[in-house]
């Protein structure tokens, strides 16, 4: 499953990427395999989303969120 399968408020752990060339910017910002991640909410118009990772809030688009493979505890 990917990050987009979470409901707002749910937490999960990043497993990897659904693509062979993951966006390096997201990795630099701390989204790595093994990192805990929370989908906080969707923006008012449905996109982008607000995620919480390593203690801070980050906003990414759904297209990028769909690249992040996760597993629920």
């Amino acid at each position: 499953m990917t990050l987009l399968d979470l409901k707002p408020g749910q937490r999960a752990c990043i497993q990897g990427w659904t693509t062979v060339e993951p966006p390096l910017r997201l990795m630099e910002l701390g989204l790595l395999p093994g990192t805990d991640i929370e989908l906080v909410r969707f923006a008012p118009l449905g996109d982008p989303i607000d995620i919480k990772v390593r203690g801070y809030h980050l906003s990414i688009r759904k297209t990028e969120a769909a690249l992040i493979r996760i597993e629920r505890p």
């Binding site: 910017r25 630099e28 701390g30 008012p44 390593r54 801070y56």
Partner: protein, 745 residues
């Protein structure tokens, strides 16, 4: 040996993630001794402050960056400055990394990169109050030991710890550069020494590792070595190929290596005393401000309120300044003999200065509100709320800040577009930013809305004029979106852009910082725009005064007739028993109307034949379908220097030749102006047509100049001018002709 006589100077670079209070630290350290320029060849702002003392320090404020692996121009510059790559810019002696204590892991990522550059590093551990609030207790000593560099805890917003940082920066002995402690995955680590070897004759030993690593992962970094060290270039390509064959994820290796080292380190030094998943105050505020329904509603309300406030709160101050300028002009006139020099002083110089100062209250207010949004963290939320819309027209939420900044002025807006990593996004943002109504348009809006639109109130607190003002801003914004969509669709086709934006915690606004920034930005506006406006005011007076033409015979004859009539009348009054002087005055008063009409006709005759009048006449045929006469056309031409110049242009056009002492305000003069057939020049419809023209037309040399610099060619500014002026003409044409057809003329 000139150097030995001057005090020793140390060069220090200040670096950090965005939103960590780096600018606050910079301002506190350097005070008002700041110099802003550009890096040679590129357009990234170079901000240097000086700390004076036994040892002078030049502090370079580097652009906020998450990483030194360049993904945007800003990050490229940050890296190049630190490593000393830029021509004419030596590497700094020390780097101060400002770090957000409540967000250690991501912030320390950058710190480990800066350490790898090989410079001595000091970490300024900022926002320790926020960390405490979040339930984090940080073991500073352990952090220092793990990183191998000094760490100074501080709360810059409360001026805590700045003295200690300054002291450390001044200490004669610099801290030792730290060793690299993190490790690359073996398959990548083993190829690096070979690459370092190739850089031997080009770089000092300490910076070879990071350069080799950067080039391995980044094409833009590698490109710069193609001519400088072709062997190194070829070697990197070969290594990449080998790693790809072995399916080694070498592009991610650096990031994983650094975080693998950092995560346990941070877990050790920052002890969580609260459940990290507990909702913070900021989270609860976000639940309302980015709520599905309340979020956009509140955002719209915030914008409407800002513009309403900017329009109404500033008015009393502006009226005061206007009255002061008129009073000063009268004072000068009464104290000096009537001459062309007095005219120049009053109509050119004093009016010119007044035209700059009078709009300062509005500009200050607008900058204040933008600063407030930035400082509280609401600016990022506005991007979060708006991204879907921006994305649809081919931009990203990241374009919201450059575009909102363009409400103040397109120049900082266009420059702010540098933060966009995607070059296509950046170019589109630059191309449409000037459509956002800048503060220079504000005076034009103000004058014409106040003069020609009704004052009635709607819904209690909103007035017609406030709503009209809002509509101007709305029109510009909507057109910017449409233009972006068209550009993305037909000019810059291709993959959509990438978006990742931090949502910093909300904080109480720090008014000192906001006001500091407000004054800073307004100063730039007054200096840059003010010079042009002032210069243009004087130049325009000259253009409107010269060449002098001879008064036509029929007017001379008319004047003679009037003089004769006065004489005759005075004679007959004197015969009726009045004193000679009283009789003359009485006779002149009786003929006052005729004298004034003739005076006005004479000055109109003069202006029409002046340079500016001729220019206005020349383009009048093109402008007539929009409802503009030659005076408005002349004003539009002169407004190219800067939009607000049209005000001083019209002021000059209408006050030259005016002999009345109690000269009414410009808006009264505009209202009174008539065509030869007696119909008013300015109807509300003409005012609307002109307003719309100003919303859409690109009449600003400075914008073209900055666009030329940012895009590095005249092509884009030319396209920009053509499409915007074309749009302006088209819209004004439709509005004026449509309005007339509907009987609104």
């Amino acid at each position: 040996m000139a150097e030995s006589t001057s005090r020793p100077t140390r060069k220090i670079a200040l670096i950090g993630n965005p939103n960590v209070g780096k600018t606050t630290v910079f301002n506190l350290l350097t005070g008002m001794r700041q110099k802003v320029g550009n890096y040679p060849g590129v357009t990234v702002e170079r901000k240097v402050g000086r700390i004076v003392g036994d040892l002078d320090i030049d502090l370079i404020d580097l652009p906020g960056s998450y990483s030194l692996s360049p993904k945007s121009l800003d990050e490229r510059i940050a890296y190049d400055v630190l490593i000393g790559h830029l021509p004419g810019e030596t590497a700094p002696d020390l780097a101060v990394c400002v770090v957000d204590a409540s967000n250690l892991e991501r912030n320390l990522y950058l710190v480990t990169q800066v350490i790898d550059v090989g410079l001595p590093v000091i970490v300024a551990l900022n926002m320790t109050d926020a960390a405490e609030e979040a339930g984090l207790s940080i073991d500073v000593k352990a952090l220092e030991e793990s990183l191998g560099v000094p760490v100074i805890p501080m709360v810059a917003s409360r001026n805590d710890g700045i003295g200690k940082l300054k002291y450390r920066m001044r200490q004669e002995e610099l801290p030792e550069p730290a060793e690299r402690k993190w490790e690359l995955m073996p398959v990548v680590a083993e190829v690096i020494p070979d690459l370092e070897e190739e850089l031997k004759s080009h770089l000092p030993e300490k910076s070879r590792f990071i350069e080799a690593l950067q080039c391995l992962t980044s094409d833009t970094m590698l490109e710069s070595w193609l001519t400088r060290a072709p062997r190194f270039h070829a070697r990197v390509l070969a290594v990449r190929e080998r790693l790809e064959e072995r399916k080694a994820p070498y592009r991610q290796a650096e990031i994983m290596g650094r975080y693998n080292w950092l995560s346990p380190l941070v877990a050790r030094v920052a002890i969580k005393q609260k459940d990290p998943n507990q909702q913070t105050v900021s989270d609860r505020i976000d639940a309302v401000l980015t709520h599905r329904i309340f979020g956009p509603l509140l955002f719209g309300l915030v914008l409407l309120l800002i513009f309403q406030a900017v329009f109404t709160w500033a008015t009393p101050v502006m009226d005061g300044i206007e009255a002061g300028v008129v009073g000063l002009g009268d004072l000068v006139r009464s104290g000096m003999p009537p001459s062309m020099f007095t005219d120049l002083l009053v109509d050119g110089v004093i009016t010119g200065v007044g035209n700059v100062v009078v709009f300062l209250p509005q500009i200050l207010l607008l900058f204040f509100f933008l600063g407030l949004m930035e400082d509280t963290g609401y600016m990022a939320r506005s991007a979060f709320i708006m991204d879907r819309v921006m994305h649809r027209v081919g931009l990203s939420g990241g374009s919201v800040v450059p575009m909102l900044s363009s409400f103040a002025c397109a120049i900082p807006g266009i420059m702010a577009a540098r933060t966009l990593a995607n070059p296509r996004d950046r170019l589109i943002t630059i191309m449409v930013a000037p459509l956002m109504s800048c503060s220079a348009r504000l005076p034009v809006y103000t004058l014409f809305i106040a003069a020609f639109l009704p004052t009635g109130a709607v819904l209690g607190i909103f007035t017609f004029q406030g709503i009209a003002m809002f509509s101007m801003y709305l029109l510009g914004t909507v057109m910017a979106f449409i233009a972006a969509f068209v550009l993305r669709r037909f000019v810059f086709k291709g993959e959509s852009s990438f978006f990742a934006m931090e949502l910093p915690p909300y904080r109480m606004p720090r008014f000192r910082q906001i006001i500091w920034r407000m004054i800073d930005r307004s100063k730039a506006f007054v200096v840059r725009a003010g010079k042009i406006i002032f210069g243009m005011s004087v130049l325009l007076w000259v253009l409107a005064t010269f060449p002098r033409s001879n008064t036509p015979d029929e007017m001379i004859a008319e004047r003679a007739t009037i003089d004769l009539q006065i004489d005759t009348r005075a004679d007959s009054l004197q015969a009726a028993g009045m004193t000679a002087s009283n009789a003359l005055i009485e006779a002149q008063v009786a003929m006052n109307g005729a004298i004034r009409t003739l005076d006005a006709r004479e000055s109109a005759y003069q202006i029409e034949r002046s340079v500016i009048g001729r220019m206005g006449h020349a383009i009048e045929p093109i402008m007539r379908p929009l409802g503009f006469d030659w005076k408005i056309s002349a004003g539009i031409i002169s407004a190219f220097a800067a939009r607000e110049v049209i005000i001083s242009a019209l002021a000059t056009l209408y006050s030259v030749g005016d002999i009345d002492d109690d000269s009414p305000l410009l808006r009264e003069k505009l209202k009174a102006d008539r065509y030869a057939d007696g119909s008013p020049v300015y109807t509300p419809l003409v005012a609307v047509s002109l307003l719309v023209f100003f919303v859409l037309a690109l009449q600003c040399m400075s914008t073209l100049a900055i666009a030329r610099r940012e895009t590095n060619s005249w092509k884009w500014p030319a396209v920009m001018w053509l499409y915007m002026t074309g749009l302006a003409w088209l819209f004004s044409f439709v509005i004026y002709q449509g309005g007339k057809a509907l009987g609104l003329g």
